[in-house]
């Protein structure tokens, strides 16, 4: 018992775990924010340009769709290495949590965009028609009908994206991004520190559970269907 207590009060646990958790939250938060800000318009574009969409643009739709698919099919670890020059360009460095947020965001944008597209596809086309016959512009159809009607789906998409980012961030941590992934690899795995390993996993599980619970609650509250 004493042994466990002393092992739990080591600096690597008290300070290390706190710092790592904060780094993970920073990575996920920053990358999540950027993914939502850029993925949302991309998802709207995918939906609107599709055949039968608000403004069908077959060529644009195919090109954007292809780019999204290619980005999504690359293993994240490869994407991260390939994006090092871009990361340097944006943040000035390729190590640290802020730098890691760059490939995380770029990986999550197409993922989120596809989820947005699916959520928009679920909106009753009759409501879009109703908006069109009252003289709405396409922009008004998007802002007053499509996005508000898809809100529960968009919240769910954000939740899923953030959780995926938590998982990816652990990978990013392994190659210089810091955070819980780095802690787990460098202490838990390489130094056989089971206590650190278990604690890291617990924090990650709690984090994911929390995100899912908050997301579900929010989606339910916003859903009036």
């Amino acid at each position: 018992m004493n042994e466990l207590l002393s092992s739990l009060t080591r600096p690597v646990v008290t300070e290390g775990l706190t710092t790592a958790t904060l780094q993970t939250l920073w990575m996920v938060g920053l990358a999540g924010l950027v993914s939502v800000l850029l993925g949302l318009p991309l998802g709207v574009l995918l939906h609107a340009s599709s055949p039968g969409g608000l403004r069908p643009m077959p060529r644009t739709n195919r090109v954007v769709g292809a780019v999204v698919n290619v980005t999504r099919s690359l293993p994240f670890i490869i994407l991260m290495v390939a994006l090092i020059p871009v990361t340097r360009l944006i943040t000035g460095t390729s190590v640290g949590s802020t730098a890691a947020a760059v490939p995380l965001a770029i990986g999550a944008i197409p993922f989120f965009a596809r989820l947005v597209e699916a959520a928009l596809r679920d909106v009753d086309p009759g409501t879009v028609e109703a908006a069109e016959v009252i003289g709405s512009t396409r922009r008004q159809v998007v802002t007053k009908v499509l996005l508000p009607e898809a809100t529960p789906g968009l919240v769910a998409a954000t939740t899923t994206t953030l959780i995926t980012l938590v998982a990816y961030s652990a990978m990013a941590g392994a190659v210089g991004g810091g955070g819980l992934g780095f802690l787990a690899i460098s202490y838990g795995y390489r130094r056989f520190d089971t206590v650190v390993m278990v604690l890291t996993v617990i924090v990650l599980v709690v984090l994911v559970q929390l995100l899912q619970a908050v997301g579900d609650h929010l989606a339910r509250r916003l859903d009036h269907r």
Partner: protein, 324 residues
């Protein structure tokens, strides 16, 4: 008022060109309630989409209040659409907006101020009998109430035309009557040109004073309902008086349609006397349509020649035909 002239709409499909509307001339008079009927695939939906300018005609014109929708640019077209209020089969309300906010949507789109929107949506919901339900979400409303909200929304921009596309097809008979009542009521009160697209003859019977029958993209019949049912060569009268399914025997039968209450009530006995034989009555029904009494009886010829009955009925001033 809406005037369609030489309206034609083609669609290109892989199988070639499909003509959905072919040389359609219709006038929907101001203050009238016109039913547009026809089997599915007859062009009803395409006509609706042309009247709201969601679909551009291939040729011909759709003139609403003197303005040809086919010739307007996008911006003017959006403004012109506000003159046509549309009621949908499934109401098509936004699930995440309250009843009042749904009614306010057309006003929002038109750039009306918030305070004005609130007053107007309250007033419109009152007009359709939904005072007190302003803050309810569509999921909390019954089918009939949802359709009332849909009607209020259609009226928000002060349209001159109320276009209803199968407004009661998803409703039960009681709710259907309730919703039709609201449509005729607001139509009358606001002096609207009301167009009701429907496949239900009962809707035609209950609310319409005029009718357009579409068949395969063409206008088969049109005019005032009370005149059409009296005219020879119109199949409308028979369709407006449905017969209960025959319980026994097989055809051929003779269907006799008679205008006028007295004439309709005595037609079988008069026929019987004229032919000096008993005539079996298989089924019958009567309806009052726009002040005109219509009756329809189905007779079994038995020993008699069916064509002799047809001729005799025609001599007595009824319409008659042999049906299998």
């Amino acid at each position: 008022m809406i005037v369609c002239r030489a309206l034609r709409k083609e669609f290109q499909t892989r199988q070639g060109t499909v003509v959905a509307l072919d040389d359609v001339d219709i006038t929907f008079a101001r203050g009238s309630v016109t039913g547009v009927v026809g089997p599915s695939g007859s062009g009803k939906s395409t006509l609706v989409r042309c009247l709201t300018a969601l679909e551009r005609p291939t040729s011909g014109s759709v003139v609403v209040d003197g303005e040809d929708l086919a010739r307007l640019d996008d911006r003017r077209l959006r403004e012109a659409r506000r003159r046509v209020g549309m009621v949908f089969q499934h109401a098509n309300l936004l699930a995440n907006r309250t009843a009042a906010d749904n009614v306010a949507l057309p006003l929002e789109v038109a750039g009306v101020t918030r305070a004005r929107r609130r007053d107007r949506s309250r007033e419109l919901l009152g007009l359709v009998g939904l005072t007190g339900r302003e803050d309810a979400y569509p999921a909390q409303l019954s089918g009939g109430q949802k359709q009332r909200v849909g009607i209020a929304r259609a009226l928000a921009n002060d349209p001159s035309v109320l276009l209803c596309d199968e407004p009661t097809s998803a409703l039960d008979p009681t709710t259907t009557r309730e919703v039709l009542g609201v449509i005729t009521d607001v139509g009358e009160r606001l002096g609207l040109t009301v167009v009701v697209v429907t496949h239900e003859m009962s809707v035609l019977r209950e609310v319409c004073d005029s009718v357009v029958v579409l068949t395969e993209g063409r206008v088969a019949e049109q005019g005032r309902l009370d005149q059409l049912v009296r005219s020879e060569g119109s199949s409308l009268a028979a369709e407006l008086v449905p017969l209960p399914a025959a319980t026994s025997g097989t055809g051929p039968w003779v269907d006799v349609v008679t205008v006028g209450e007295e004439a309709g009530a005595t037609v079988v006995s008069r026929l019987s006397r004229r032919l000096q034989a008993d005539i079996a009555l298989v089924a019958g029904g009567a309806q009052a349509i726009g002040g005109t009494h219509l009756s329809r009886v189905r007779l079994a010829p038995g020993e008699l020649d069916a064509h002799a009955i047809v001729l005799a009925a025609r001599e007595l001033g009824s319409r008659a035909e042999v049906v299998a």
